[in-house]
Symmetry: C2
Subunit: 81 residues, 2 copies
């Protein structure tokens, strides 16, 4: 795996997780802003997370998982990770 | 879920993931130092990750997952996350 800085523009795995978050969010019918608020994450940060543009911290991933009422295992599985 | 700073001392979910990493590492018979080197993570940082003392980034979790030759879904599942 290539070394990457903490601020990532393109990374397939972050993109895959972000896409899985977006898919799950749409599946439960909430907006990106609503998810951000539920997860106590800045709204502009949430957009970058969904696009895989940020090397999100595990705690923020877990906050998102809880806000989506799913598990990290299920979200990872749907992201192919 | 309570708000936490990016530098976490105690958090049940980080502790659970760290414990799962340690268990998996021991299962394949490598040392913490070897895992750190395989994952390109600083050795002192790896100890803190295994003890759940750091809010590890997703990319570092993924590096560890690859070094352990497992998947994020499997590791999360074994951590109960």
């Amino acid at each position: 795996m290539p070394r990457v800085s903490s601020k990532v523009d393109i990374n397939g795995e972050l993109v895959a997780l972000g896409a899985a978050i977006r898919l799950h969010r749409k599946g439960i019918g909430i907006s990106q802003e609503e998810l951000a608020d539920l997860a106590s994450i800045d709204r502009s940060h949430m957009g970058k997370i969904e696009r895989g543009e940020r090397n999100v911290s595990l705690l923020n991933v877990l906050r998102i998982v809880h806000a989506l009422d799913t598990t990290l295992a299920k979200l990872s599985n749907s992201a192919g990770l």
